[in-house]
């Protein structure tokens, strides 16, 4: 009743091909946007810093990986490595050119990260499936080693830690210790919104279609004239661009300082989890998955206090880990296609509600 498209006529092709062709969807998006903008007025610093900012940046990384794994079918465990490229290059560029707008620096670091993705994507031309997944670990370990080892990347500081220096946009501090969580949230929100819209359009267009053709069957795609070489490498570099920007956000908008440990293999797995739980081949799924992986541990940590339970902290953490693992298995069993698929089912149901045939 509420969610019905009857009566909505499209008179132009443009209208018919809009990202959100249904009016209710547009309303929904508007509501989400309103909420996203309004959230800092109600959330305290803990929520911004612990949930919302990491949620945004991991959503971006998940979109990046989804372009590669969900749309192009190339399984990658090198996400952490590409994020590290973004983080370290942003640091390097912004300390070398302190006056450059930090957003420009993010983009530049993303481009360098894209270059790294290009190089490490080369094996994908021959290697497939899990072999490729493990092979991409090479980039994870190599890049981690590189940024740990070569002093140039962290300006030869004695410990190899990079710290976000204070940078401002239009007179407002956006990075460094004095940037408030609200400002950093808004900057992250802006970046993620722009890049998510770009990604959505990308996958709807010619490039996205060629990616999906490669994913579904690369031999067949080649026969109909899609060049696997170009298509796969393009996917790797664009995906790495997204991951690189996410890595830059991780250091500059979230943690404030980092060593290579912040980009270790656990990050790669987390992002992979996000897209699987969220839904492979879905931009919305990337957001849902990121929300799940970021939010659930925080909820589990705070849950015992909520119910007035006190227990030993180590026992609590163990139970938390067990519950987290069980939840993942549970979701994979009940909905292997991810949360995005659940969302879709809900919409289908809503369309008929309250008068199913």
């Amino acid at each position: 009743m509420i969610y019905r498209e009857a009566g909505q006529f499209k008179t132009t092709y443009t209208a018919d091909q809009a990202v959100f062709p249904i009016v209710q969807d547009r309303w929904f998006i508007a509501a989400v946007a309103f909420l996203a903008l309004g959230v800092p007025f109600v959330a305290n610093e803990y929520w911004l810093q612990v949930v919302l900012i990491p949620f945004l940046l991991f959503s971006l990384a998940a979109i990046g990986l989804n372009l590669l794994t969900g749309y192009t079918g190339q399984l990658s465990l090198g996400t952490g490595g590409f994020m590290a490229v973004g983080g370290y290059m942003t640091y390097k560029i912004t300390t070398a050119f302190p006056d450059l707008n930090i957003l420009v620096v993010f983009a530049a670091a993303g481009l360098i990260s894209a270059g790294a993705g290009l190089v490490f994507g080369l094996p994908s031309l021959r290697i497939k499936g899990f072999y490729l997944a493990v092979a991409t670990l090479a980039s994870q370990f190599f890049l981690g080693w590189l940024f740990n080892r070569v002093g140039w990347f962290y300006n030869y500081s004695s410990s190899g830690t990079i710290t976000a220096p204070p940078r401002e946009i239009l007179g407002i501090m956006v990075t460094g210790p004095e940037a408030t969580a609200e400002v950093r949230y808004y900057v992250a929100l802006a970046i993620v919104t722009v890049m998510a819209v770009a990604a959505k359009n990308l996958v709807r267009g010619r490039i996205g279609r060629s990616w999906m053709a490669i994913r579904d069957m690369d031999v067949a795609a080649e026969i109909i004239g899609i060049r696997p070489f170009r298509t796969k490498l393009l996917a790797f570099s664009i995906s790495s661009f997204y991951c690189g920007v996410a890595g830059a956000m991780l250091v500059f908008l979230w943690l404030g300082s980092a060593e290579t440990e912040a980009f270790d293999i656990v990050v790669s797995f987390d992002v992979l989890f996000m897209i699987i739980i969220g839904g492979l081949g879905s931009i919305l799924g990337s957001f849902l998955g990121a929300a799940f992986i970021v939010l659930v541990p925080v909820l589990l940590t705070n849950a015992p206090q909520l119910f007035g339970l006190t227990m030993a902290i180590d026992l609590q953490k163990h139970i938390e880990v067990v519950l987290f693992g069980s939840l993942i298995i549970f979701f994979l069993i009940v909905e292997p296609n991810g949360l995005a698929r659940l969302w879709q089912i809900t919409k289908e149901k809503l369309r008929l509600w309250p008068f199913p045939y």
Partner: protein, 311 residues
């Protein structure tokens, strides 16, 4: 020019300069490689029999070792503790089949892969809840003296570990190739549904193979745990087994051994002769790079089954 010499000439001169030391490096590499194979073997078994890339293998190693050492701390004699641990691992295999695999039949490989990571979390939490997070010394009475043979230092423990691994592999290879269950396992790996339709009891097969993997995990846990004490970090050796796995091929038992040897020797030589040039600690990524080089020529690993694609 200096750089070229440093990379292409100096290390070889170094090797030629002290052949005894080179021999020692190679031997240590072989022995370490065997230890990697031991972990990789667990992965291969499960992948071969169920097409699942079981990321929980590392945690299974930890879980088995924790159980063993936990029982021993409570005064259970070694042999009985080992026996009980094997029973626990079989019980675990039953539980995994009942609560996880059964519901995921015929899913995409990546879903199964992710489910095993979830399983890794569960096992990690349960293991540490039961036995605690403290480091525990594991002593099952394997000799641990070093002795020198012609200037090469050998360790009894390493030799023992290598020998037991060799035996294990031989037994498993025979099992896979010449027994009915072994053939059934291979059939299941090829296609769940086809195997079911010719009357292979999928559930039983899975329980068997996960039990065997649990047993291999126990052996790996004893060998690695005796070295470093049993603690959480034990589960991280899985990462050292992955390059072995892709180098040898996901589906080949002998591949895991040969892969282990190549990776073990390769990374030791690289670290010792080229490592100082690059600032050290190159082993970890070098192993992956080495595997990658092999993969470019053989995308299914050295001994993996050939991937045939049809449109």
């Amino acid at each position: 020019m200096d750089l070229l010499t440093a990379v292409f000439v100096a290390p070889f001169l170094d090797m030629a300069g002290s052949p005894v030391f080179l021999a020692e490096v190679v031997i240590v590499g072989v022995l370490t490689g065997v230890m990697y194979s031991l972990v990789a073997l667990g992965f291969v078994l499960i992948f071969k029999a169920s097409g699942v890339f079981n990321f929980a293998q590392g945690v299974m190693v930890l879980f088995a070792a924790l159980t063993l050492v936990g029982l021993m701390e409570r005064g259970v004699p070694v042999w009985l503790a080992i026996l009980m641990t094997i029973l626990v691992m079989i019980g675990l295999a039953f539980a995994i089949e009942r609560f996880m695999l059964r519901h995921l039949v015929n899913q995409e490989p990546i879903i199964l892969f992710m489910a095993t990571i979830g399983l890794a979390f569960v096992l990690e939490g349960v293991g540490e809840t039961l036995w605690g997070s403290n480091v525990k010394a594991l002593d099952v009475g394997i000799p641990n003296a070093s002795f020198e043979v012609g200037g090469i230092l050998l360790n009894e423990f390493d030799l023992f570990a290598a020998a037991s691994c060799a035996v294990l592999v031989a037994v498993l290879a025979v099992f896979f190739h010449y027994t009915t269950i072994g053939r059934a396992l291979r059939a299941v790996a090829d296609d769940h549904q086809a195997a079911l339709s010719v009357g292979i009891p999928l559930k039983t097969i899975w329980v068997i193979v996960w039990s065997v993997a649990g047993f291999v995990g126990l052996v790996a846990g004893i060998m690695w745990g005796a070295r470093s004490g049993v603690q959480f970090s034990l589960s991280l050796i899985a990462l050292k087994a992955l390059p072995v796995l892709i180098l040898g091929g996901f589906t080949s038992v002998p591949g895991a051994i040969v892969g282990g040897l190549i990776i073990g020797v390769g990374e030791k030589i690289a670290e010792i002769y080229w490592g100082p040039l690059l600032g050290g600690a190159i082993e970890n990524w070098f192993a992956y790079m080495l595997a990658l080089v092999f993969l470019v020529f053989r995308p299914q690993g050295l001994f993996g089954e050939r991937i045939i694609e049809r449109v």
